[in-house]
Every structure is written in C-alpha cells, then in structure tokens.
Symmetry: C2
Subunit: 217 residues, 2 copies
DNA sequence: TGCCGTCTGTGAGTTTGTCACCGAGCCAGA
DNA sequence: TCTGGCTCGGTGACAAACTCACAGACGGCA
C-alpha cells in the first residue's frame, strides 16, 4: 500500500494514476527548521506532506512577521506552485516546524497528471481553495478582530490537547502579526485573571473555559 | 477575430482550442452594481472580463468591509472557482464596479480545456497566482503599514490619470479596511498640508508629488 | 563564577479604532 | 417653496494597539 491513499482526494484516483504518481515521485525527509520555499527560490516540485508541519509566514521589510497558515500532514504545499508563476514579488516563506516526510512531485509529473486525471485536478484546485480561505481568515482577523480574542484563539489552537505551550512572546506575536509587547501585556492580563500561567519560554493554560469564551466573541 | 486574443495567456493557445473556447462559451453583459458572486452563491461559470471591473471585497459580521482586489478587463475571476470548492465558509463577494462585458465559461468546458490544453492550465494557474499575490499584499498592508501611507497609495491608484476622485470617506475606509473617521482625519490632515481638496463626495489631488513621497515610505 | 544572549516587563508617547452625536448638504414630496 | 429624511462629513472623548527605549531576569556556557 502506497502513500497516495493517505491523501484525501488522491485515494479516489484510479489505480494506474496512483501508481504513476508513486513511481515518478520521490519520498524525502526534511529536518526541522528547513526553509522549504522562499522569495526568489526556484522550486520545481510540488510537495505533499506525509508527516510533520510546515509553517508559512510573511516577512515585511521592517522585519516584522506574520504566520499565514500551516501545512499539515495529508495536505499539499500548493502555494509554491502559485508563487513560481507569480510575476510580481511576494514575501512568503515556508519553514518546516518539525521534521517532515514529504513526497516531491516533479513539475513534469504534475503537468502530466493534471492533464490526465480529473480527480488530480480536483485535488489541486481544492488545495488552492483551502489556502485561499486560510488567507481570507488572516485578513478577516487582521482587519476586524481584537488582539486579545485572536491571542486566546491561537493559544488554544497551538496547545491542542496539551496544557502547556512551549513558545515565546515573540513567537506568539508573529503568529498574530502584532508586536511582542502587545502579547506580553495581554498575557499578563490573562495571568492576572487566572486563565494562564507563564514561565520563561512557556505558557500553561489554566482556565480553558474562560479562554474559549473569549475566543468565541 | 474572437475575444480570446485579448487575454494574455490565451492568445497563445492553438487555434482549435481557442475556437472551442469561443463556441462553447457565452458573452454576456452585466450592469453596474451586480453581485457576481457571494457566499452561498452557486456559480458554475468561470468569468473572463472583456471590459469593466469587478471589485472583490470581504465583509465581516460586524458589517465592516475591506476591498481585496479588483478584476480588470483581460483578467479572469478565478476566485469563484476556488470558492465553490471551498468547504468552509468564507465571506468574499464580487460586485461589478462598472457595466461589464464578460465571457462565461461553463464548468464542463473549463474541465475539458484544463484536461486538453497545457496553455489553458497555465492561464488558470497564473490567474490564481495573481490573486494570491494580491491577497499577500493586502495582508502585508494590514499588518505592517501605516494608514496614512496606505491612503495616499490608494488615492493615487484610484485616481489614475484623473485629478478628481468621486468617492466618499466611507468608501475609502472600505478600500483600506479601516474606519470612516480615520479616513476623515487623514484627509483633513492632507488638506491642511495642501495635498488635496475636498468636496462632498469627491477628493481632488493637488500635490501629487507629496502624496507619492508619502506613498513610497 | 561571571558573561552574554535571549526573554520578559514597563512607561511614555503616537497611531488607530470605537462610540456618540451633530450639523451640513441634497433630494423628493407636499 | 418649504420640509422632512437621508447621506455625508466633522468632532471629542476614550479605548486599543503599536512604537520606542530601556531595564531586569533567566539560562547556558566558558
């Protein structure tokens, strides 16, 4: 059984297409902290993530950053293909957040399959759609949402099932595209209310219910 | 000579593909102010704009709005296709800003051509790429740029070659995703410096050089 | 132990967003 | 022509967010 069954949207491909996909592409391991794509970089593979996560973020001239979205296992890093074609400059970069295992589909194979298979095209387009809705979400949050609400949401999301989050104020600020001081002050307020506790380099969620209530506003 | 030559990226298609495109799609006229797509709307055509412009904007629950980008003549409204596929909700809508003439390509024809023609796929992907870079730009501006700079940029862009812009403070606020009061204050400041003059429903650019200097910061 | 780089805290000032309200211009109908 | 209602713009007070400058705390390492 090959990896192609692990991708929703690829599992339904005809067997011969899946075989072609598997034989003509290469599984690779990427260590944590690797820049998978960046402005000016020449990527000629479409990456499908088998495990790990890739953080995609934008960097401004002034050095401030904002996280746009994460590519999770079972998803494709389709934005790279878009960015290749893009004429103008952009400033998004993808960095592996954990060690990753990924399938690299060469451009030629990508083109062939896009021509051959309706289902594959469907897969590609729905990958685009997901990323675009992610970007819409970022815009919505930046333009219309208060920082405290966004911080609560992000803390819950990043923590997942765990109670403690190993991260710095600066990293959280990057998540939201805001300044470190803002995060520090918000966290202090959260702590004052007994919602979280802080240590150097970590935040512990104490009162999830309260955070969820704020996040839902 | 058909309309397909007017689209960069389509003009290079083989003649038989262009013919198929032209015979199997329909040219339509759309009056100003029409909602071309919106959340929950079922679009089954890909629109190519022959003339006019479509404004794409996002609306928040609270009623505030932000302009994401404009589709100009010679471009395709490819985001509709993405949004169809998108599982989650999104809140972008497209509104004709002028009377428009557009080619509607039915989904079936779109699929056929995407299968048949490398060049057509290239066209579609580069349309996506353009929109995505537009969204990156919006995010960059929202997260990292001062409002006065963005306003100066937008005034110059919207005015084009003309000196006078027929628009309201509220509409300018929507352009930037900010509040009407903020635009009012910035314009008052611009006026105080002799850069613009204002009348009810219009702004006249007096000192373009100064605005350009600010816009370039 | 002492040094250094990273992480966090904080105050002051600026910019931006929110809220509430008012007045001026414009238009249509009496 | 008057008048009421609507849109547009102006304003003050306040809250939220960002910037800047700097200081102290912590941890790893020589």
């Amino acid at each position: 059984m090959g990896w192609s069954e692990r991708f929703e949207g690829l599992a339904s491909l005809p067997k011969e297409i899946r075989d072609e996909l598997e034989t003509r592409s290469q599984v690779m391991d990427v260590p944590e902290g690797t820049t998978v794509f960046a402005p000016g970089m020449h990527a000629d593979n479409l990456l499908l993530l088998l495990s790990g996560t890739v953080r995609v973020q934008q960097v401004s001239e002034s050095g401030r950053e904002i996280v746009l979205y994460r590519v999770e296992a079972g998803e494709s890093c389709v934005m790279t293909t878009a960015c290749l074609i893009a004429h103008e400059d952009y400033a998004a970069e993808g960095i592996t957040e954990t060690a990753c295992r990924a399938v690299a589909i060469p451009r030629k194979v990508f083109d062939d399959l896009a021509a051959k298979s309706d289902a594959f095209r469907q897969f590609v387009f729905s990958s685009y759609a997901r990323r675009i809705t992610d970007l819409f979400g970022v815009i919505e949050a930046l333009a219309f949402q208060r920082v405290d609400i966004r911080l609560a949401q992000r803390l819950l999301k990043l923590a997942g099932a765990a109670d403690t989050l190993d991260t710095t104020h600066q990293k959280l600020a990057t998540e939201l595209g805001t300044a470190r001081e803002v995060v520090s002050r918000q966290l202090r307020e959260f702590q004052r209310r007994g919602w979280v506790e802080q240590n150097r380099g970590s935040v512990t969620l104490i009162d999830r219910a309260a955070l969820e209530a704020l996040a839902a506003e």
